[in-house]
């Protein structure tokens, strides 16, 4: 893998780390060209969803750099960032992707040489890890699928709320004027991340055709009783329904109108997809994989006319169609 040149996206906070990167330039400290920098106002403004999306889009590594603790221009933004990155690490691990690919560093405005070192070091580390398995023309669909699950987990209320309340509850005070020990919060976050990951995974499985608890357990490797528990919660939340009962076991189907969480194509895009599919159906000398690829690429060039300005209810992002690749690829 010596000729592997990793693609790294850097999110740098405007006040410390971006200034540190500038100082590396002023001091002419050389580092590899592998990093493309996105300037953000604060390391806390990087949504975990964006980090997962960045991996889905094929980044081999991500650098998030903010002010040293205590130096934050917005007081505590960097501490929020730390907690958010931690949760992304937990989820990446579940996806089968090395958490080391996403790295959080503190770089001050006077640490030009440190910025260069961090980039050097990260490029080396990513080189050793090898390319992101979901990048390129033949992505690892299992991992990709799981990354979508992770993204859906982060889009959900439960984990998000806990991550963002963690600082308040752990360091300041909860509503009873108490603080909860760090270990307990860590444990809770681990449990919730795991539960929600499994639940989103189940919703994915039951998206296209109805499926039994037994089958879900087989596909996920989870114990049946746990799957059953999850289905109960999901049915209660109105995300899953019993489609029909077959052979005495109920078959579950994801309720499709909950468009906020599940990656399904909005209606207009379904139409586009069908028209593209029909137009290439009779192409000679093109195998099925290539056809799927063509459909995906063409869909990517489309722009959502509903939500160019703002998010519609149908998807998280105005470039929502891009979040739906798994539906097309899979």
């Amino acid at each position: 893998m010596t000729d592997f040149n990793p693609h790294i996206v850097g999110f740098l906070c405007n006040w410390c780390s971006y200034a540190g990167a500038d100082l590396a330039g002023v001091s002419r400290i050389q580092y590899p060209t592998n990093i493309g920098v996105v300037r953000v106002m604060c390391s806390s403004s990087i949504d975990p969803v964006i980090l997962i999306e960045t991996m889905i889009r094929g980044a081999d590594g991500v650098l998030i750099a903010g002010c040293h603790p205590g130096d934050c221009h917005y007081d505590t933004g960097n501490l929020h960032a730390e907690r958010r990155v931690k949760i992304v690490h937990r989820l990446l691990d579940r996806c089968g992707l090395e958490p080391e690919r996403i790295r959080l560093e503190w770089v001050s405005a006077s640490e030009g040489s440190r910025f260069a070192e961090v980039v050097d070091n990260l490029v080396e580390e990513i080189r050793e890890l090898g390319p992101n398995p979901v990048a390129g023309d033949q992505p690892d669909l299992d991992i990709l699928e799981r990354l979508y699950v992770a993204r859906n987990v982060l889009g959900d209320f439960r984990l998000n709320l806990l991550v963002n309340k963690e600082h308040q509850i752990e360091d300041v005070s909860n509503v009873f004027g108490e603080t909860i020990p760090k270990e307990r919060m860590d444990e809770l976050l681990d449990t919730v991340a795991s539960e929600e990951f499994n639940r989103c995974n189940l919703l994915m499985l039951a998206r296209d055709s109805s499926i039994s608890v037994q089958q879900m357990a087989d596909r996920t490797g989870l114990p049946e009783e746990e799957v059953l528990d999850h289905t109960v919660v999901l049915v209660d939340r109105g995300l899953l329904k019993v489609d029909r009962v077959d052979d005495g076991s109920p078959l579950y189907l994801t309720i499709s109108q909950d468009r906020g969480r599940i990656s399904t194509l909005p209606a207009w895009a379904q139409v586009e997809k069908r028209s593209i599919e029909s137009s290439i159906r009779n192409l000679p000398d093109v195998d099925e994989t290539t056809k799927a690829w063509i459909v995906r690429e063409l869909l990517l060039t489309l722009r959502c006319h509903n939500c160019e300005r703002r998010r519609s209810d149908a998807c998280h992002f105005s470039v929502c169609i891009r979040g739906l690749m798994s539906g097309v690829v899979g």
Partner: protein, 1026 residues
């Protein structure tokens, strides 16, 4: 230009250090034109040399550089670098100042700061900024982040070879430059020339300049800095090895009559603790020792910092000693420190020694003062008066920062704001007269238009063009989606190119502009201005940083660097296509201030507000004004405090602009900066009022001791009670008096230092000696914290026979009553190591200063924080000492921290100055790039409220009864944290919308992921055919 009285709405600030910059920014924000004069080629002063700041270990450059940029870019600030005051004429409100500008030999309007000239300059000179530990060239920039980023030829060393001129693509070098005399008309002058470092060579016994491993504390600071000579490593100058044992010697050039500096330099104790901690962080296994007489940790959180340094970080403190001399082991270049401890001489070996050098008055101070006619005190610092600490002896000329007395950064900043307040109230009528508001053409509405992006790629001379293939980048940009125009320029930031950009926008109907050049941190505002001149919203602009983060850091791989630049441009264009026009929220400002607390600080604030032409509503909880000041009768030099108080109260009560509410308290506050709605309960009557800003000056109170028989025996009293007794009785019937320091301060329960009580005790001891020199006075103290010029009173007291006895925390004195009914004090003298027995007639306790009762409730009401001791917590301990993180609310006086009379006055004026930057505007423009809530998606969970440090989001009830979050645009700082925290993605961070960020991420790879061209072509053809 001037108002009806002929006053001029401009101020000259002499000195561009942190104090000078703060004063300049406050004045410029309040509608005055400011000239900043500094003899150095760039602003920044001493703070620019620091690595970290105590006690928070903030990176100095991180917090300073936004101020540098703000000062350098402010349209109402004119920088006059490498300049000195030559002469001054006129009267307050109308001065003419002649400024002598040295030739820089570089045209400030043309130099882009690229630094090519320095690369080829053959002359190497010891770099003053790095204390000679590094070399610079004869044409140079003082430090990498210097503002203005203009190079200077050092005529003393330049040999005139002319190479720099051949290298400068901007044509900025001008050898014909000559010193010029510039005439400037101003209404007021502020002096902030700072200090100069004491020359440690004068302390020959420490061997500085002779022994290589003896450093000054400023040299160590440069070593610790990542931009210093060894990139943050501490190395012994003699052999380049990492030291193992480091000693700090305190008071080098301070508290030293022999070298002519009898005063205390105030900052060196904390400075040494900080350096000792950071040096240990940077050097594994380093032992650090600090040798000192008294640890002067009198500031906010300082004592806690000192304690942590000792207990948690293992810094070794050797107290109560002045190192006698340093000698060197000639073989190892190690150093021996000779010092006395408990009366015995000791010798200890170290491999590096740091001298904590003190403050001298600024260089050439006599010349400056001679020209201005102001008086100096006997230490050659600026003479000020206790009651008017910001005024020099010349009316219309004000002072701040270390020039008025040695002080740390937050005190300098607060004082700088204070001086700005004094300077502007003098010329209040001429506010806005000298500043021009730039007129722009009406904004073109581009919403709904297809994006039409123009890309301008800069060569920056050869800074970019020498590495990257710039013309190919412009060609490449033309192929990107939405790009309708792309070109390359020699200097995109030059005046003529900006003109071109403006014309191109109008000609080609561009509605988004991308500039690929240097860093957006310094250049965004320049180009945004260009957009506005062409009628575009300034937020339709994006930069690609292809210099600082590309050509400069990939100089040896031009092809790859060009490829990366293509990526950066692609990312910028992608984001640009999604940019939208933004309008900042506007709030109409109520031209009135609410001042909470009617003591010295509150009354000073009210009077200054009125002087500046604004209404003040003063709320005092007691039935009369004066607060704690009513109990203070005289100053250290015998100043008549009660007489002053009487005049101040009269001034407050007589002023039509000031409305006083006594026996009153705040009931309720809502709203935000520009328009707070406050309900005041005054004697049971509820008054509702609207205020633009709020100043918190709730003061403090004296601790009522439970120690030392206080309250049980009438002969035991506090210093304030004793002062009352001295004044009312006029004489004192006693043979012996014992004073005990730190009563209720620096304890486990109350770990902070009350700052004023050492001096207060010395003051009263002196008064006793003055009344009757025969009375024996014993002062039992832990550390004598008579910082600054107060050290003189301490010395005077010692000379007059006051006996100072040091005790340690663990050996507190014991006060009892013996069998004859006499008071008896037992104390273990730490120096003699002997227990002393004293039978005094009175025991006087230096009781702690406590925060005002009711601070908690007020803090809750205003949604501002308190520290763990109950004092209010400012927005930033270093650079925003009188601001709260919440805009429009300020603090001053004892509400912030116990402090002296003159410090309270300075801070009160400082709070007013900060308030004036708001009150002087009719409407307040908030940030344009803020977070917005989509109410239809919000479920009102309130997570965003917890995330925000600035109180911008709050939960409101909609008419339909649904609870949703609402973000106050005036309070939002635009960090974007809340938008991430939102569980329903109902919050959008403008200008950093998720889709905008993702579009950049996407285009970061899109080239790499483009499939083979043939395949793509086939697909497109096939699809269009069917």
């Amino acid at each position: 230009m001037s108002d009806e009285e002929g006053k001029i709405g401009a101020v000259m600030v002499v000195g561009g250090g942190i104090a000078g910059m703060q004063a300049a920014l406050d004045l410029a924000d309040s509608g005055y034109l400011v000239y900043v004069v500094d003899s150095s080629p760039s602003i920044g002063g001493a703070m620019a040399q620091l690595d970290k700041t105590f006690p928070t270990h903030d990176c100095a450059m991180c917090i300073l550089s936004p101020k540098l940029v703000a000062t350098g870019r402010h349209q109402n600030v004119k920088l006059m670098m490498a300049s000195d005051i030559h002469a001054i004429e006129g009267k307050p409100g109308n001065f003419t100042v002649f400024v002598k500008r040295k030739a820089r030999y570089v045209d400030e309007t043309k130099c882009t700061g690229c630094g090519l000239c320095t690369l080829r300059c053959p002359i190497e000179v010891r770099d003053e900024y790095n204390k000679g530990l590094k070399l610079r060239k004869a044409i140079y920039l003082k430090y990498p982040q210097a503002v203005p980023p203009v190079h200077t030829i050092d005529r003393d060393h330049c040999i005139g070879c002319g190479v720099c001129e051949t290298q400068c693509e901007a044509g900025a070098i001008d050898f014909s430059g000559e010193e010029e005399l510039v005439k400037v008309d101003v209404g007021s002058v502020i002096l902030a020339p700072g200090f100069s470092e004491f020359d440690p060579r004068l302390k020959t016994e420490y061997g500085y300049g002779v022994f290589k491993n003896v450093l000054s504390s400023v040299e160590l600071e440069r070593m610790l800095s990542a931009t210093g000579p060894y990139r943050g490593m501490v190395l012994r100058p003699s052999d380049g090895k990492r030291p193992k044992r480091m000693a700090f010697i305190q008071c080098v050039g301070s508290r030293d009559v022999q070298v002519g500096n009898p005063y205390c330099s105030s900052v060196c104790c904390m400075f040494a603790v900080k350096e000792a901690l950071i040096a240990r962080e940077h050097t594994p296994g380093l032992e650090t020792h600090i040798f000192f007489m008294d640890m002067r940790a009198f500031g906010k959180e300082f004592d806690e910092y000192y304690a942590r340094a000792e207990e948690e970080h293992g810094i070794v403190f050797t107290r109560n000693t002045r190192v006698a001399r340093v000698s060197q082991n000639p073989e190892t270049n190690n150093l021996y420190l000779w010092y006395a401890e408990h009366g015995k001489m000791k010798r200890e070996e170290f491999d590096i020694v740091v001298l904590s050098i003190g403050f001298d008055s600024p260089k050439d101070v006599e010349k400056l003062t001679e020209k201005l006619g102001i008086k100096l005190n006997k230490h050659d610092f600026c003479q000020t008066d206790m009651f008017t600490p910001l005024d020099t002896s010349e009316p219309g000329i004000y002072v701040c920062g270390a020039f008025s007395s040695p002080k740390d950064i937050p005190d300098s900043v607060a004082q700088a704001s204070g001086a700005a307040c004094r300077a502007m109230s003098e010329i209040a009528g001429a506010r806005g007269a000298m500043v021009t508001v730039k007129e722009y053409p009406p904004e073109i509405d581009v919403s709904g238009q297809e994006p039409k992006v123009g890309v301008f790629v800069c060569h920056c001379g050869i800074n970019i063009g020498g590495v990257l293939d710039v013309p190919s980048l412009a060609e490449y940009a033309k192929t990107l989606p939405n790009v309708v125009h792309a070109e390359d320029n020699l200097y995109t930031c030059s005046q003529d190119t900006q003109q071109r950009i403006s014309e191109t926008i109008m000609e080609k109907g561009l509605n988004r502009v991308v500039v690929a050049s240097c860093t957006p941190r310094t250049h965004t505002t320049i180009f945004q201005n260009t957009l506005m001149e062409a009628g575009l919203n300034p937020h339709l602009f994006e930069m690609a940083n292809i210099r600082d983060q590309c050509s400069w850091v990939h100089m040896n791989v031009p092809k790859r660097a060009t490829k990366k630049a293509r990526t950066l441009i692609r990312m910028a264009v992608a984001k640009a296509s999604l940019l939208e026009q933004l309008k900042p929220a506007e709030v109409e400002v109520v031209k009135s201030a609410l001042v909470i607390g009617g003591g010295l600080s509150g009354m000073t604030a009210a009077v200054e507000l009125a002087r500046a032409g604004f209404d003040a509503h003063l709320v005092e909880k007691d039935s009369e004004l004066g607060g704690l000041l009513r109990r203070i009768h005289f100053g250290c030099s015998g100043e008549d405090v009660q007489g002053f108080l009487e005049r101040l109260v009269k001034q407050v009560e007589d002023d039509d602009r000031i409305r006083v509410y006594t026996s009153a308290e705040l009931k309720e506050v809502s709203g935000s900066v520009g328009d707070f709605a406050a309900v005041i309960d005054s004697d049971g009557e509820e008054i509702e009022t609207h205020q633009g800003v709020i100043i918190v000056a709730t003061g403090g109170e004296e601790y009522e001791p439970t120690e030392y028989l206080y309250g049980k025996d009438p002969r035991v009293m506090t210093q304030l009670e004793f002062e009352e007794k001295l004044v009312t009785e006029g004489e004192i019937d006693a043979k012996c008096i014992v004073m005990v320091h730190c009563v209720g301060s620096r304890t486990t329960e109350r770990p902070y230092c009350s700052r004023v009580c050492c001096t207060e005790s010395v003051k009263n001891a002196l008064r006793v000696k003055e009344m009757n020199p025969g009375i024996a006075v014993y002062s039992l103290f832990r550390d004598m914290r008579t910082y600054g010029f107060r050290e003189e009173f301490y010395r005077e007291a010692a000379e007059k026979g006051v006996v100072f006895i040091r005790f340690l925390e663990e050996n507190e004195p014991v006060v009892s009553i013996d069998d004859q009914g006499k008071l008896e004090v037992r104390v273990l003298d730490d120096i003699l190591q002997e227990e002393l027995l004293i039978n005094p007639d009175y025991v006087v306790l230096a009781a702690a200063t406590l925060p005002a009762r009711g601070n908690e409730e007020l803090a809750r009401m205003l949604k501002v924080p308190l520290n763990s001791h109950g004092f209010f917590l400012e927005a930033h301990m270093k650079l925003r000492p009188v601001d709260f993180a919440t805009d429009g609310i300020f603090l001053c006086g004892l509400a912030h921290l116990p402090k002296f009379f003159e410090e309270n006055v300075s801070q009160a004026c400082g709070a007013v100055s900060r308030a004036l930057s708001i009150l002087s505007q009719d409407t307040l423009e908030g940030e344009a790039t803020i977070a917005l809530v989509d109410e239809s998606m919000c479920r009102g969970c309130g997570v965003c409220v917890d995330t925000c440090e600035f109180g911008a989001p709050s939960l409101i009830m909609l008419e339909n009864g649904r609870q949703v979050s609402h973000i106050d645009g005036a309070l939002c700082k635009g960090c974007g944290s809340c938008s991430v925290s939102c569980c329903n993605k109902a919050i959008t961070m403008l200008n950093f919308r998720t889709d905008q960020v993702l579009s950049m991420v996407e285009s970061c790879f899109s080239e790499a992921k483009t499939p083979p061209a043939k395949r793509e072509a086939t697909v497109v053809e096939e699809v269009t055919e069917t």
